[in-house]
Symmetry: C2
Subunit: 284 residues, 2 copies
């Protein structure tokens, strides 16, 4: 294990807080600096042991750090990366935990200094709950983390980012920012849109007749609307394509149900069932 000196975590919510707890429980860093805009949330992260020290100033934190991890909402990440890069040492590694990558990597790469310091990352872990209060040191264990370096990212920086995330417990994979956004539109953004749409399609007065299928199918609809609005807008092109694919599939179901076509329905059902069982067989 490559021991880190000072790590600054920008944004101490569920993800940032979990990174702090994981760094600490694994003894990976000498000092953990929490950066945020809300003093009460910083105080909570301190109290929970996710950070050692709190500040509201990204640039001052970056000056003192060996690694900066940006865990703010996707529409604020590029700004925070640029601020950290502006004052950080030349050896600074900046990474992030954003759910979309293409737009923010493009913005970061327009700045020479930021381009030399940044490796985009997306640890695929989370919860519909928010805040450091729900943070867990084991949140990243065996979760995939997608790194999205480009042809312009220094090789040694990619190696350090790989180390950082795998030391937290992640299975690290590499993809281009575009490939990442297309994949996640299907594997994560679409299931969120589907959960939200399903949640509101059932009228309130029928909720007493809803059970397990509704409960599980709508769990992530409880996630934060501001965070998810930003994700869906940042990745709008791929998300729209994914929603269209789900709509196609629903139309196939509808046609088979309307026609009472049992062989077609059984075939549609089995395709979904075998995909689900394949997912379960992989240890999920």
């Amino acid at each position: 294990l490559e021991r880190l000196g000072t790590v600054a975590i920008v944004g101490v919510g569920l993800i940032g807080g979990s990174i702090g707890l994981a760094l600490r429980s694994r003894g990976l860093a000498d000092h953990i600096l929490g950066v945020g805009r809300s003093q009460s949330r910083l105080d909570e992260a301190c109290r929970l042991g996710a950070i050692d020290e709190a500040t509201t100033d990204v640039t001052r934190a970056a000056e003192r750090s060996d690694v900066v991890v940006v865990c703010t909402p996707v529409d604020r990440i590029a700004d925070d990366v640029l601020l950290a890069a502006a004052t950080g040492r030349t050896s600074l590694l900046i990474t992030d935990a954003g759910s979309t990558k293409r737009e923010l990597v493009e913005r970061v790469e327009r700045n020479e200094r930021a381009r030399q310091a940044f490796v985009g990352a997306h640890p695929i872990a989370g919860s519909e709950r928010q805040g450091a209060a729900h943070a867990r040191a084991d949140l990243f264990i065996d979760r995939a983390c997608v790194l999205t370096p480009t042809a312009r990212t220094p090789t040694d920086l990619v190696r350090r980012a790989r180390c950082f995330w795998s030391n937290l417990g992640c299975r690290v994979v590499e993809m281009t920012p575009v490939a990442h956004d297309r994949a996640l539109a299907l594997t994560s953004h679409l299931p969120h849109v589907a959960a939200s749409a399903l949640a509101s399609t059932i009228p309130a007065e029928l909720l007493p007749l809803a059970a397990g299928a509704y409960r599980d199918g709508t769990r992530v609809a409880a996630a934060d609307g501001t965070l998810w609005t930003a994700i869906l807008v940042e990745n709008r092109h791929s998300v729209c394509e994914s929603v269209a694919k789900l709509q196609d599939r629903l139309r196939q179901f509808q046609a088979a149900i309307q026609a009472g076509d049992e062989p077609a329905l059984r075939r549609l059902w089995e395709e979904g069932r075998s995909r689900r069982l394949e997912f379960e067989a992989a240890g999920n």
Copy 2:
């Protein structure tokens, strides 16, 4: 508690097995007869303590019983009810656990003797798992059970059916068969179709990048395809209407995402979120 004499459970899978275990653990019946077509499944139900005795003959079982509960797949329930009614005593109560009600109640009511013995029921509890091995004595506790008597169902029979299901732990409500099928198309059948459609929309090669939202959103896609084909076909009119409602909602999401309309997206998201939180607040 009104103690029952002999109860015959026709179909000893997850639901039938759970009824047996609940009757036994609550001491509600003198004798529990299991009826099925597969000797190995009957043996398993005996071994698990869900039934006292097994038989493959519905009519012989009905002759000896005070209550017959039919827990076979929805496309077999009406036949089993008619068989039980043909040989049962005049005091026999027949009820069922089917997920759809309109078609089967209509078929049963065409027979005078069955009409005098049958009260349709749907305990809203279950699992994507099948078989008595997954049965649980507490499956029905605090679950809604919809009774669907008609104007022709004897009042005292409805009272006895109410007792039977509430003694298993259910919150009993009454609805017409048509109202039941419309409601469940939204609260249960639609979430199942959505889960199945979502499961197969994600290509197999991207499954390693799927996490919690996919896992929860597709859980019930693992359910049995033959059972669900029968349910969707029996309730095809209402299920098609429900799928159309979900599609409308997805179109609204799509339009807002495409336009990058953040206020509209936030509004759509909040509607789903508040419905979900209302569901959670009711103790789910």
